[in-house]
Structure formats: structure tokens, C-alpha cells
Amino acid sequence: MTDTTSSASANRPEGAERLSEDRRDAMRGEPPFVEAPSEDTRLVRSLKEAAITAALVAVLTVFFFAFSTDIAVGGLSLTGNVSLWLKWIAVAFVARFLLSYFVFGGERPSIGGWKKVAAATAKLRLGKIVGVVLLLVAFTLPFLLSTFLPSQNRYLLDLAILILTYVMLGWGLNIVVGLAGLLDLGYVAFYAVGAYSFALLATNFDLGFWVCLPMAGLFAAMWGIVLGFPVLRLRGDYLAIVTLAFGEIIRVVLLNWYDFTGGPNGILGIPKPTLFGLEFSRGEGSFSDFFGLEYSSIQRFVFLYYIILALALLTNFVTMRMRKLPVGRAWEALREDEIACRSLGINTVNVKLTAFATGAMFGGFAGSFFATRQGFISPESFTFIESAIILAIVVLGGLGSQLGVVIASVVMIGGIELLRNLTGLQAIFGAGFDPTQYRMLIFGLAMVVIMVWKPRGLVSTRSPSAVYKEKKTIGADLVAQGEGH
């Protein structure tokens, strides 16, 4: 106890009551008496853990190692291979024993204390591991695909680019909806502004992708502020409706301003990105020519893939960094309690506008990438359903969670594509079943199931932006959702 108590002690009662309070004070903080658990020696404990590991391996691998099927005349033949199974169990036992005995040593609590430690830190650690694994996969994906799935290489790479575009959009929207807690149903407007900024600059002024990219981001950020002003005073449903209307206004203007945007015909002939002036085409001065490689159309896709990966990672880096800066903390504080923010001298107008501008800027980057990838844009690409999908990704992933957005993008965008190819369902529903016709239905059901099972998104915990001693995750039930939810 610090000096608050010492100064408070002047007000404390005298006599018997004082004594009893002192006694209570002395008792405070003492844990209730519990008999110490019997201490196993390190050897016994290691043996126990190794046995558990071996048992788990035995159960998990029984069908993979103990039995094998071979094609025989008239079907399959089943052959037992118990020795292989036992060998793997032995390997698991020995490996776990050695790990427990030498690496984990004495300090690590064995099975008894495991649950408690796991509860506090498992989520943090698991999130980190998943994040690192996903990042490694993302970096090596083009090589993995060309090595393992050369036949579907182009299709899958294209899908990966699409997923990453949505990851980036999700991360951008996450700033507005997840961190600042301002429900934005018109995010696609900034995507459109970015795409059209790049397309118009490139076709009218003959500028390249890399020059236009920052400009497109700036234009989108500017529109973010323009949208921000009218919605500053709005809360809840009204905020959602105005942002939705803003998204539609942008689309309708693009559709009807024929002289400027080309109207429904869109804009054709948007240049492809170059690598320091090297084009991804056949012939002199191209990428393959310069590096002495054989030309392949896949090179351009790999390049596009790495561009969107870099842009998405930039979005993530800036967002993660901003969360630890005063402005990011102010976004989250705004989501928690706007009035308290103002009582602490925070200009909530500026905080909201920076959130809208930052989110819009990344939407603009993603938009200009979209334009350069497609080579053609029209208002058809920026309908309300896009906003809804991006918002669904953010909500499904868990508001404010960066990892959740990635998982939700893979599930949503990848899932829709996967359902196209589910011919396996024909075995259940009969040969006439066409999975492409039912994919949206299946997808909708899957989303309903996820939201029932995890109402606050796949990754619903919040990790604090500043730590004094120990980083603890914060449960979703304590975190406010902000306006419009």
C-alpha cells in the first residue's frame, strides 16, 4: 500500500475496531491454505509426459500407419503394418522424453499447471504462431504453387491476389470500424476513388503505376475527410445510413459523369505495373529479357502477387504501429467512450477524421492496385455488395483483429471459390446437383453458423497496446463496439 493509505490512516477508528481491522489487513493477500501437490522427480514427470504423448500419437496415427490399403483385384486389400505404427510411437515417446528431461527441465510446470498457463498466454502465443506461419506461406506461395500445383498455378495465384486485395481492404476498414468503432457501409467508395484516380491519371497524363499509387491514396484520403465531416455528429444507425449513401453517390456519379469517367463503359487500357521500368511482356527491354529468363505469362502474376502482398503488409505495419501511437489509442478510446475522450482533452473531430482518412487511404491503394490488375474498370465493380463483403470480412474476423481479417478473407473469398469445385457433394445429393448453384446458400449458412458459434468474430480478443508487466488479452465482452452496432 502506498501513501494513500498512510494518509488515510489518520481517519481510521481507534480501539478494538482498529485492532480487528489490522488483523484483517494482515490476513489480506494470504492465499487460503492448500496442501502442496506431491512433487514428482524430473525423471518421473518426464516419463509421464512422454507416455501421454506416445498415447496421443498412437490414437492419432492408428489409421495412417497401422493399416494401409492397396489396390487389389476387385477392390482394395487391407494390410496391417503394426511395426511401422509402433516405431512412430516409440519415436514420439523418446523425443518427448528427451525434450521434457533436458529442454523443458524442472522449471516448466508439467500437466498440473499447464491449463492455467495456457489460459493466460496460449491465445497470444497461438496468434503469433499462426501469424508467422501465414506470413511464411504468403511469402513463398508463388514457389509453393509452381512446385506442387503447376497445373492450377495461374488460377490459384489469381485467387491469392484476390484474397490479398480483400485482406488489404479488410485491414483498411478495420481502422474505421474495428478500432475507431465507426460503422462504415460505404467503404467501397474509397476503393472506387483510388481505382478511378489511378485510371484517369494514367490514361490522361500517361503516368505509371508507382507514381499514381501515392496520389490515388491521397485522393482517397481526401474523400475520406470529405465523408468524415458530415458524419461527425452522427451516431448509430444514422452513421451507417449516411456512409452507405455516400458509397452509392460516388458510384452513381462515376456512372453518370460520362465525359470524365466514361460512364458505364468504364476506362480501358490502364497500364500494367513495371519493375523499375521493366515490363512484363515479350520482347526487348522486358523483365524476362533483362534477366535472361524465358518469357512466361505467370511472371506478371507473381509480380502482381508480390505488389499486393507488400501493400497489404504496409497496411498491417502502419495499423499495428498506429495502435501503439497516441492517435491509435485515441481511436480505441473513441470506440470505448466518446464523452470520456472529450473530457481528457482529445479533439474527437480530428480523431474521427484521421480514422476515416487513414482507412480511406489504404482503400485507395487497394483500388489502384485493382485497376492495374484488371486493366479495365467500370462502376459495376464498386457496388454495395463489395462494401458488404469487406464489412463481413471485418466482422467475421473480429472487430479490431488483424489476424481475424486474414482468416476471414481466406474463408470468405477462398470459400466461395472452393464451393465452385465441390463436386464431391454430388455423391450426397445425387448426380444432378450443381454445387455452383448452391454455393451462396452454403456460404450463407456457414456464415450464420460462425456468427452463432462466435458472435464477436473469429478472433474476438483484444491485445493491449501498452504493457507494464505482463501482456494479457482482453475478452470481447469488455470491449465496446462503438457506433452503429
Binding site: 481517519n11 481510521r12 497516441p326 489509442r329 470506440r335 470505448e336 493491449p464 501498452a466
Partner: protein, 319 residues
């Protein structure tokens, strides 16, 4: 504990003059004038619905008063002439080194905290529940850190100037957590704290904005006797060690009588008494307002009260 001289008249930090607040036909505060002395603990008391929280909201900028002037002086010895000049000039505040005066009724709520240095807490606690205790105190240092982070540019690049400022902010937060005895819960979400701890955290958060005047709206509401005794100690140390003037609304007379240097009593939006704890306690109008007796009966009640005059302050410690 009570200061004998009338500090609030000699060296006021805040002067509320002819404050009137109307909500439609309802006059919540009616021509109210009072001063808050520098380095005093001033209590604003009165029956329910007397307009105390409305006065608070006017002082902290959450309401714009219908009429009146609320002047905050940063330093001692600002002449009424200077305030009059500022009022005529139409400016919100003048920030000369010695004669900094802020006309709070003209300023936006966040500016009042940021520029003038008035911090407040709320009757129903308003913490950032999903953020940790430490984060709550860091949010309170937003403006300072914002400047240090070069409006996020230097912060994004991780320049050493910002890192130093961030470290200093964290140190200040930790220091306050030690003071209010919440250091063990620094990494817990604020919504997880017990009620009494939340009250203390809210006070610590307000103090992290580095105010000259701290406005507390019922800080002892819902606290048990031990906690309100600790609160008394905390408020006194804020006044004595940090030189922060405190203006508080409170219903717990134990707390009010024990720590207040100056008490202002409101009833139906009007000031009915103004003075030291002893003066207010023996003021017939106050007794009438609180006990609801006719003026003829006041003297009788007064005589009764004389007998048990010491009771309220003793109550604060023992209950």
C-alpha cells in the same frame, strides 16, 4: 484542516459569475456566482436536482451556459480589469506567461481540458472499459504525446524523441498507479476492476492530463466507508502535494465536512450558502433546504444540531 482565511476571495483559480442555464422553460442554474480558491478543496453540495451537475457541465464545457462568465486564472494576481478586457476582446483566452486567463464558457469541452487545464470525472464512471488500466492513463496524455509523435509521423518512424516521450508518459502513468494503489492491476482491463478501484482510476486518469483544477462529480458515491476514507486521503494529497485545486460535488457529508476548505450550497439552481464547513453547517438556510423545514422552525432545528455538531465529521471515519 480548515483554513481560516478566505482563500477563495483572495486568490481564486475559478470565478463563476452570474451563471444561468435554461433548458427550455426550466431554469436549472439561476444567476449563480461563486469562487474556487487556488489550492482549496471546494465542495458543491445541495439536494437532488439543485443543479450541481449542470454547473459542472458548464464549467467543463459540456454545456454552453445561457448567461454568465466562467473565468479560470492560471496564476495568482490577475486583475479583474484584465478579465474584463479579455471578455470585451471576444477572444476565448489569453495566454500571456503571467496572466493566463481562460473564459471557459466560450471554449469547446476538449479545449478546456487541453488548454485551460480543467479535468473532470463523471457521476457514472466513464472509463475505457476494454482498455487496460495503463492504457487508460496513456490516453489521458494524448495531446502531449501527439505533439511528441510529430502528429504520428515521428511516431511511425520510431524516432528517439517520440520514444523518450512515450517512456516518460508510461512512467507518469505508473507513478499515478502507484499513488492510487492500482499498480498490481496495470495490465487488467479497466472494466474488470471493482467499483472503488474504478473511481480511483478515473481520478488518476483525470490527473494525468496535468490539470490546475480537478472537478469530481460525486467521487465517493458507492464507496464503502474505508474506501471513502482512503479517497479523503487521496484528495488531500492531490491538493497538498500537487497543488491542484479540487471542485467536487458530493452527497456524503462525512467526506464533504472532513476535507472541504470551502463549501457552496445550491438549492433550486440558486446559491443559498457559501463559506467554510463550519459556517455552512450552521447556516439556517442550508438546514432548511436539507431537512425541508419552514423558516420558523429553523431555529429549533439549529439548536438540535448544535448538540450533535461534531457528528458528521466523525461519521466519515467510522461508518
Amino acid at each position: 484542516m480548515l483554513k481560516e482565511n478566505r482563500n477563495w476571495a483572495a486568490d481564486p483559480v475559478l470565478s463563476v459569475e452570474h451563471l444561468t442555464m435554461r433548458f427550455g422553460g426550466l431554469v436549472a442554474v439561476d444567476d449563480l456566482s461563486f469562487d474556487v480558491g487556488r489550492g482549496d478543496i471546494t465542495a458543491l453540495i445541495g439536494p437532488n436536482g439543485a443543479g450541481k451537475t449542470t454547473v459542472f457541465n458548464c464549467v467543463t464545457g459540456f454545456y454552453k451556459p445561457t448567461e454568465g462568465r466562467i473565468a479560470l486564472r492560471r496564476k495568482h494576481g490577475v486583475s479583474p480589469q484584465a478579465i474584463g478586457d479579455l471578455t470585451k476582446s471576444g477572444k476565448q483566452y489569453s495566454e500571456d506567461a503571467d496572466k493566463a486567463v481562460f473564459l471557459l464558457e466560450r471554449m469547446a469541452d476538449f479545449k478546456i481540458t487541453e488548454v485551460a487545464g480543467v479535468a473532470r470525472t463523471f457521476q457514472n464512471i466513464r472509463l475505457f472499459g476494454g482498455m487496460t488500466v495503463l492504457e487508460n492513463l496513456l490516453v489521458a496524455q494524448h495531446n502531449k504525446l501527439m505533439r511528441a509523435s510529430g502528429y504520428s509521423i515521428a511516431g511511425l518512424l520510431g524516432l528517439p524523441g517520440y520514444r523518450r516521450a512515450a517512456k516518460a508518459a508510461q512512467d507518469l502513468a505508473v507513478e499515478w498507479l502507484r499513488r492510487v494503489d492500482l499498480i498490481d492491476r496495470a495490465d487488467d482491463p479497466a472494466a474488470d476492476l471493482p467499483y472503488g478501484d474504478q473511481r480511483r482510476l478515473e481520478i488518476a486518469r483525470a490527473l494525468c492530463t496535468d490539470p490546475v483544477l480537478l472537478c469530481l462529480d460525486e467521487p465517493a458515491a458507492g464507496l464503502n466507508p474505508r474506501e471513502s476514507a482512503e479517497l479523503n486521503g487521496l484528495l488531500k494529497s492531490i491538493r497538498n502535494d500537487h497543488g491542484v485545486s479540487v471542485l467536487l460535488i458530493e452527497h456524503d457529508m462525512g467526506v464533504v465536512m472532513e476535507i472541504s476548505d470551502h463549501i457552496v450550497v445550491l438549492d433550486y439552481g440558486k446559491k443559498i450558502s457559501d463559506g467554510t464547513a463550519a459556517e455552512v453547517r450552521s447556516d439556517p438556510k442550508v438546514i432548511a433546504a436539507y431537512l425541508g423545514v419552514d423558516d420558523e422552525e429553523v431555529e429549533e432545528v439549529e439548536r438540535d444540531l448544535e448538540v450533535s455538531a461534531a457528528r458528521p465529521s466523525a461519521e466519515g471515519g467510522t461508518r
